[in-house]
Symmetry: C2
Subunit: 233 residues, 2 copies
């Protein structure tokens, strides 16, 4: 059974990295001693090593070891032997580019379809969807495709932001951008706010955390989903 | 001599579409009776016709006619015969995708290199640079490349936004995104705030409007450029 935890953000304001998710992660990775971390998204351009150190430190709080996939000469073998995955946030284009470059995209997908637990934050959640077309990131590198893992039947817009009613800025709001997307695409999109996550158990998709989320289906009115909603596609 | 006016935004808060630029546009398009409008970026997914109507209405205030490129059966011929170009804002991915699809990218570039005046706003300014890698837009369609017209030797980040010091949002700031870009690319980037534009006369690039702009060169400290600066690349 597929088992994914897809978070809007790694960090909520004022709390240490991942700490708001520790309880959920303990449950999610129950029985897993070590996970494979994919640091490709490199937030702020940090190195794979530095990023892995950050992830390792956080997971040590819940007694789970972390290996960076880049530490292995044979990355594919590392994926095949992994007992759990964590794909960290950063830039979705860089992440997807590197997943293709190293031939890991379909391999990770296959493992997760065969019940290996997957945890993603931000860009790492985004690539679990059918495409990265609802990322907020800058296209700083050209990936061979925008197609991602398709482990869930809808796209994720992480760090979803409501419009600021006092803003004088004329750039598009997040909602406007997603509605533009719907003129060209029919895959549904969920905008998840910082502090929310999607729990995937087989084909059941549940909104978790304390906040509501925004749900965009082409041709329908955009709706606000309460936490606990089982998302029907 | 190349002659471009590349604006951060079509509209500043509280003023009608393009109106803050009317004076500059009259000078820019001096002697031109009619311009060719490229509505491909379709802000909010509006139709090419509706977008062209908006542009036509604004330019009628300064007695310049507007034809939409989509109104021509032979778009390439329309480009070849144009006396001026206006490429409007919206989604940079959709714009670039359609410029490639209709084979217009290199044609427009060639005309502008041969002194036909070019006016761009937002996405229309972005595609004048070497690549669209510093757009803020969502990647809602996959273009055959991120390479754009390269009419100027640096990329444009339109609608440049300073970080909000009171924000609790954990998504990346604009500056962080551009600095991530610099880890992978060496083309300089200018972040132009709403109300600013770049005036291009041959190989002279001048910051216009009342605001400063942010200038990013890989390996250097990011600097703030006063209006009137001649940008040296």
């Amino acid at each position: 059974m597929k088992n994914l935890l897809l978070a809007s953000t790694s960090t909520v304001h004022g709390k240490p990295y991942l700490s708001y998710l520790f309880e959920a992660l303990q449950e999610h990775f129950k029985g897993v001693k070590e996970i494979l971390f994919v640091p490709f998204a490199r937030p702020g351009g940090i190195t794979h090593d530095a990023y892995t150190t950050t992830a390792r430190k956080a997971f040590s709080e819940i007694d789970i070891g972390v290996k960076g996939v880049h530490e292995f000469e044979d990355m594919k073998m590392a994926v095949r032997q992994a007992q759990g995955f964590f794909i960290g946030g950063g830039n979705s284009f860089v992440l997807l580019h590197d997943l293709y470059k190293h031939g890991l995209l379909s391999l990770i997908k296959e493992k997760v379809e065969n019940s290996i637990p997957y945890f993603g934050t931000s860009a790492g959640s985004n690539v679990a969807g059918p495409t990265i077309m609802n990322t907020n990131d800058m296209p700083i590198i050209y990936p061979p495709s925008f197609d991602a893992m398709g482990l869930i039947p809808f796209n994720i817009n992480p760090h979803f932001l409501d419009p600021d009613p006092n803003s004088t800025h004329m750039g598009e709001t997040r909602e406007t951008r997603i509605i533009e997307y719907q003129h060209f695409n029919t895959t549904p999109v969920i905008g998840i706010r910082e502090g929310s996550w999607i729990e995937v158990k087989g084909d059941t998709f549940t909104l978790r955390g304390t906040l509501t989320a925004r749900w965009f289906v082409t041709g329908n009115e955009t709706v606000e989903l309460p936490t606990g909603t089982k998302i029907e596609v």
